[in-house]
Amino acid sequence: MADLTNKERMKIQKHHMPEQDPLERAKNFLEVNLGYDTATAIEEAQRCIQCKNKPCVEGCPVRVDIPGFIKQIELGNFKEAAAILKKDNALPAVCGRVCPQEEQCEMVCTVGKKNAPVAIGYLERWAADWERKNIGLQKPELKPKTGKKVAIVGGGPAGLSCAGDLIQMGHDVVVFEALHEIGGVLMYGIPEFRLPKVIVQAEVDGLREMGVEFRTNQVIGMTDTVDELLKEYDAVFLGVGAGLPYFLNIPGEHLNGIYSANEYLTRVNLMKAYDFPNSDTPMFNVMGKSVAVFGGGNTAMDAVRTSLRLGAKKAMIIYRRTEKEMPARVEEIKHAKEEGVEFFLLHAPIEFYGDEEGWLKGVKVQEMELGEPDASGRRRPVPIEGAIKDIPIEVAVVAIGNGSNPIISKTTPDLKVNKWGNILVDEKTMKTNKKGVFAGGDIVTGGATVILAMGAGRTAAAAIDEYLKNPDVWLEEKKEEVTN
């Protein structure tokens, strides 16, 4: 295979990801993408021409050694491929599935200029899955214990990756999580059909085996405050996510049948309401009903596709811009369409209406057209006068984003946040203004991506390690900042 020329490699067509039949899968919660088999993975790996300048690596927020791991797949050294991935990415089985690759690593892949880009995400997922299924997650070497203790607040990707690095550095790590399960959005938000929960659980189990202690049912700010943690721990990392759902703020939003995406997805994923009454948590019986989901991101796609799986007769996306502006991963939009989701683009909801008993009956929507570009350069949707229609629905899911949950900032008044409640940090170290306290992930950036949250957790871990060796540096840096 080493004898393949670059020209030959560039001619190989991208390997299709085997997936469940759209009409079949729209009725079950099993994973949509089935994954490459070994032969296909090797053939896909052959498409990489091992660029010297590695543009793909630059495109990846955590700089995964992409040609490095792909070469090992091509050579059949799968264990090595997984090891290379994990040097930079603590959760490759997750990121391979949920990263917006088309905007990151794959967007700048050289092969992509003439042909489809190398399927970096699919290969990443394949290598990580191979490890988990064939040899079990490999444990990295742990450095000798330092005797230092770090508290991680929040068990999402930011917290987990920070915990993983710190435990390897020899520190004691305790993760405090508000919910009864670890994983953050990976557990309660992203559905099983896109990210099987066994993958998240395997990662969490791996961390536990390495010595990370998990304490669920702990709402920091309420059960313990950040200041109380600081008395017991040498440093604190805040990775509490962006868990405060925005609503549309239009009339009728209290009607029964209207959910935030967080509630809708939490009921289904975390509380397993799809399995009612075997699971105690109920949810609105979506079977045979019409569901409208408002928004165009991954969350909206997850909610609308979940609705189909719950038996909805009609599942719609209602979005006020066009498909081009949709923040969702391209693959999710494609999958949603194949499964029969209807798209109402350039439509904005203006009012929900219901019956006497308070049940949702429909939504009034305003048709929009694209006007002048706004500050972000996107053409702004403007209402077409008089173009208002009624769409009868029984269920509505609002998926227009999340703000930052104020529990931590309210109970830690000396922690600096911006006007949206995002914690302010020094981006190189994830240090907050409060000594010994670091933060990263969605609570800093606002709703973003798994890979960015994970990257932030790792940056913080490195800075925490430095800080624990020399806690006085914080003060010196602060002084500098003041004199500058």
Binding site: A178, G243, F276, M283, G358
Partner: protein, 287 residues
């Protein structure tokens, strides 16, 4: 895992639990609640912390068995365990010396009002407690309330004990007698809280109610607990649970609490059927 230290019935279907939870016992303030689950496929349900002891690190909850989860909970005994327990959640009650404060509890609402009534007394108020029940056996915590209040009036719908009538009628009687009342706390079924609000509104008496919407996380993450107060959306788990009774839209709350009625019915029927079967099997096994 939180161990149950004590479990006993106070009234039919109303059970008191003392549960090991040292951190929560140390932290909690009157008006706050916990969320718990009773088994691994269980629902998360909110319950008020009725009392706590930092000495033995326990919290007390008082539960009315009305649906699957609360009925399941009420089958647990001392020595048993609660798999998930999180708290304290919600804002503590606003406590100050108002002068004369009336605490009104309907049914299990008395348990929810108890810690706040106690705190109002400690803050120097003259505290009058009205505790309502359908019949005598549903009047709970009378002795506990007597220990922390200046005046206690039990009421029953059928007159089998104490004042014959609704709690609102007792409140109206006090007002008609010309008693100066500066503050009212009303906790119980929604129609009762609404009725109290209607009684005190013309007098302009500051009135607070504790809302009981359906919750999931209890941390402000899902928005399922939203209610309309003063025409604005609030998340009861973090902005409440206590609100100005004269500003609450009770009709929205009532309708939202009916959201899962048919599922709840199915759930409890299956649970009770299973309980009966289990009892039968035991009976047969024991010959």
């Amino acid at each position: 895992m939180n161990k149950i230290i004590e479990a006993r019935f106070l009234a039919p279907d109303v059970k008191l639990f003392r549960i090991e939870a040292p951190k929560i016992a140390e932290k909690r303030k009157p008006g706050q609640f916990i969320i718990l689950r009773v088994h691994k496929n269980g629902e998360r349900i909110p319950l008020t912390i009725a009392d706590s002891s930092t000495e033995d690190g326990t919290i007390t909850i008082i539960v009315q068995g009305i649906g699957k989860t609360t009925k399941h909970l009420n089958t647990l005994e001392a020595g048993g365990e609660i798999i998930d327990l999180v708290g304290p959640l919600g804002k503590p009650s606003h406590i100050e010396n108002f002068g004369t404060a009336v605490s009104i509890g309907g049914g299990v609402g008395t348990a929810i009002a108890y810690p706040t009534a106690k705190a109002l007394k400690e803050a120097g108020n003259h505290v009058i407690s009205i505790i309502g029940g359908r019949t005598k056996e549903f009047v709970i915590l009378e002795d506990e309330m007597k220990a922390v209040c200046d005046e206690v009036y039990p009421t029953t719908d059928d007159g089998s004990y104490g004042f014959h009538g609704f709690v609102t009628q007792k409140l109206q009687q006090l007002l008609d007698e010309g008693r100066k009342i500066d503050f009212v706390l009303a906790i119980g079924p929604i129609p009762m809280m609404k009725a109290v609000a209607d009684v005190t509104r013309p007098y302009g008496i500051k009135t607070v109610v504790s809302l009981n919407p359906i919750m999931v996380d209890g941390t402000g993450m899902c928005g399922g607990c939203r209610a309309l107060v003063d025409d604005k959306v609030v998340f009861v788990c973090v902005d409440g649970p206590e609100f100005d009774a004269h500003k609450v839209d009770f009709s929205v709350l009532t309708k939202r609490n009916r959201m899962y009625l048919s599922q709840e019915k199915q759930s409890v029927e299956e649970f009770e059927h299973k309980c009966k079967l289990d009892a039968k099997i035991k009976e047969v096994a024991n010959g």
